[in-house]
């Protein structure tokens, strides 16, 4: 392996990891706030990608502008989804039943996308799709850079929201100890709804970023949910920094392993990491005590 290929692969791995990090952050948030395993997260991701593609096709404007609509829309949908459906599940079987419920939602979204947009593979063609900037001999595609910047900005914003605002404090309190939070006057039901909306809003950003540099089709979400689930377990369920770090490490790992092992085997890195984590450190490498209870 030449030095330039190594550098190029590292760069690609970091860019990929950035997108994984944003998507995994949303997924780990649902689990943190509500113990919900959200199988439909990646289906909403693909839905956002389709909305970006549709927006671009209809208006001819840059798909990034669709974020103005999709982010608030997904936040509201997430809130309603949590209040209307998920909060009605019995707490005792919540984790298990949420898998079934969100699985059904994922299938519904996939079916509707197929119905409205057909199964044809779509791609947004932008003037800058093939452009890249060169840094130390490595090419960084402009679209990948935009996707990475979006992901990084969204992650930083999410982190700041959780650490610096009153809402963030309330949300973290709800994650750490819902009963204690309620005793302190936090309306945990509403906060949980907002948390869910926040998670879904990250899917809107991630989906738009994805649509910039990938062909999309209705069943694409199955391809994403596996690696994302593995990432949040490795990172520690409920821990956003943990998910981000695990996403970057596994993204880079997948990229690097592709050279000696080929594409087929490099995909297994997520699952090997998942098994290793469950064997050695079931609570995750970066997370807190949360996962130990499951």
């Amino acid at each position: 392996m030449s030095a330039s290929l190594l550098l190029q692969t590292l760069v690609l791995g970091v860019l990929l990891g950035g997108l994984y990090a944003l998507l995994a952050a949303g997924l780990t948030l649902y689990f943190g706030v509500m113990r919900v395993v959200m199988i439909a997260h990646s289906a909403f991701l693909i839905l956002a990608a389709y909305l970006a593609w549709f927006f671009h096709r209809e208006t001819g404007l840059d798909p990034l502008l669709s974020l103005v609509v999709t982010v608030p829309l997904f936040f509201v949908v997430g809130y309603l989804l949590q209040r209307g459906l998920i909060s009605r599940l019995r707490p005792a079987t919540l984790t298990m039943m949420s898998v079934l419920l969100t699985f059904a939602i994922a299938l519904t979204i996939e079916g509707l996308l197929g119905f409205f947009f057909t199964g044809t593979q779509r791609r947004i063609n932008l003037g800058y799709s093939g452009s890249s900037v060169e840094v130390f001999g490595a090419h960084i595609a402009v679209v990948k850079l935009i996707a990475f910047a979006l992901a990084a900005a969204a992650l930083v914003a999410l982190f700041a929201l959780l650490k610096l605002t009153r809402f963030g404090q309330a949300l973290r309190a709800t994650i750490q100890h819902p009963e204690a939070a309620r005793l302190l006057g936090v309306n945990t039901d509403r906060i949980a709804g907002f948390g869910f909306g926040l998670g879904l809003a990250t899917a809107a950003i991630g989906g738009t970023a994805l649509a910039l540099d990938s062909t999309i089709y209705p069943s694409l979400h199955w391809h994403w949910i596996g690696p994302l689930m593995a990432i949040i377990v490795v990172g520690g369920l409920g821990s956003i920094p943990g998910a981000a770090i695990a996403a970057l490490l596994l993204g880079v790992g997948q990229s690097l392993l592709q050279i000696p092992m080929g594409t087929t085997w490099a995909q297994t890195v997520f699952y090997i990491a998942l098994f290793a984590t469950l064997l050695v450190r079931p609570q995750g490498f970066f997370g807190g005590r949360l996962a130990q209870r499951f």
């Binding site: 190029q8 063609n125 932008l126 062909t215 089709y217 592709q258 594409t263 995909q267």
Partner: protein, 415 residues
């Protein structure tokens, strides 16, 4: 096995047929055991039995094949029929199911009174259907099923009605490259192929021919069909700086790989991808950077064979759009069977007639919409795919020279 002139089912089949008849006795009136007692074609018409995947996984191409068959039948009937008789198609839906397709052909031969049969769509369905045809001694010409396994089953009644099997798709390009002067020829080549017998066959056919002639293979990657991120494969190809890149691709994989290669600033002298570039969506997906991309194609409405011009005109008038490859291959199947019928001067289900149809195709060349076709002993067509290339944003035939609409661009313009 060979069957008697009365086309009596084999003992095993009689058992099945008898059971089925008992079960269906109250529903189906004409369920005779003699085979074909019910609706056998009269003397004034030739009945052609076909099973197609009109629903299920292959329904899209299945319907294309149906349009092709029906257009051929209409055209034939408007032009005096076959041997002076009108042809009538009996088309059953096998729901893309390999078990169903076999029983469909049994029914076509035994109950629908088919004088001739045409093949279904896709390798998975062609093999069981061909087995039934073989058992009854029927000629079996099929419009789809280019993978190796179709030709390795020992069928002696099968003919694939298309120019070439997957491994031979790039033959004209390979010949062209090998005919170049040593110092202009590409010296290194990178291959990326989907883990799929058809897609791999196309790229490996070219790879093996070039490697034997000394073109060094510097990258040879295989990716699973669900791969969407091609940046790492592209990085390896770009790093190798191979003179040419070949993709054994379907559709989205080619699009993503090409864009990833462009993002990495890789500029090969030759870029060849199977299937995707002939898709009408392709130039829209890649944008204005398609020039020079090469693809083999089994059929294009632009091909200058006289049969093809008639076909395109007839089909376009009927359907309002030019035929696609599935429709053309179906039409080709009709042409091949018709040539055998006229050559052997018979069209009935007797083993003698079917054998003389088979023998005729073994010994003769047939002019079709995809050019003149001949076959080897296993039914592999011995022709070659046309090579198309994007020139000024339009896909044009560049090989063979006698069909060429534009000159082959080598080295290709930068993308």
């Amino acid at each position: 096995m060979r069957l008697g002139p009365t086309r009596r089912p084999t003992p095993r089949r009689t058992g099945v047929a008898a059971t089925a008849c008992v079960a269906l006795a109250s529903v189906v009136a004409g369920c005779g055991l003699g085979g074909g007692a019910g609706s056998e074609g009269g003397d004034d018409e030739i009945v052609i039995g076909i099973s197609l995947p009109l629903t299920g996984d292959f329904s899209e191409p299945g319907k294309g094949v149906q349009r092709g068959y029906e257009a051929w039948a209409d055209y034939t009937n408007e032009n005096g029929g076959l041997l002076g008789k009108q042809v009538r198609l009996v088309i059953l839906d096998d729901q893309s199911n390999a078990d169903r397709v076999a029983s469909d052909y049994e029914r076509l031969i035994n109950q629908e009174g088919a004088d001739l049969i045409f093949g279904p769509f896709s390798t998975r369905l062609v093999v069981p259907a061909a087995q039934v045809a073989q058992d009854y001694g029927f000629l079996f010409v099929e419009p789809a099923g280019a993978a190796d396994e179709v030709f390795e089953q020992g069928f002696d009644n099968l003919f694939y009605a298309a120019p070439a099997v997957a491994d031979d798709h790039y033959n004209l390009l390979a010949e062209h490259i090998l005919a170049m002067p040593e110092d202009q020829r590409p010296k290194t080549a990178a291959y990326a192929t989907m883990d799929d017998p058809f897609a791999q066959g196309t790229a490996y056919g070219l790879r093996d021919k070039l490697a034997a002639a000394g073109v060094e293979t510097v990258v040879d990657e295989v990716y699973p069909p669900n791969t969407t991120d091609f940046s790492n494969i592209a990085a390896q190809i770009a790093d190798s700086d191979a003179d040419m890149v070949v993709g054994g691709t379907q559709y989205q994989d080619a699009v993503n790989l090409i864009v990833s290669l462009q993002q990495l600033g890789y500029q090969p002298d030759l870029a060849a991808f199977s299937t995707a570039p002939t898709n009408p969506e392709f130039p829209a997906a890649i944008g204005d950077k398609v020039d020079g991309i090469v693809s083999p194609t089994g059929y294009t409405p632009e091909a200058a064979f006289p049969e093809n011009q008639e076909f395109v005109e007839f089909f376009t008038e009927k359907h309002g759009h030019a035929p696609s490859e599935d429709e053309a291959n179906a039409w080709t199947t009709g042409e091949v069977v018709a040539a055998a019928v006229e050559g052997a001067d018979c069209a009935d289900p007797s083993p003698e007639c079917q054998q003389s149809l088979i023998d005729h195709l073994r010994e003769n060349e047939v002019d079709t919409v995809v050019g003149p076709l001949t076959w080897d002993a296993q039914g592999r067509p011995q022709s070659a795919h046309l090579i198309q290339q994007y020139v000024d944003g339009e896909i044009r035939i560049v090989m063979p020279t006698e069909q060429a609409e534009a000159d082959f661009l080598f080295p290709k313009p930068a993308w």
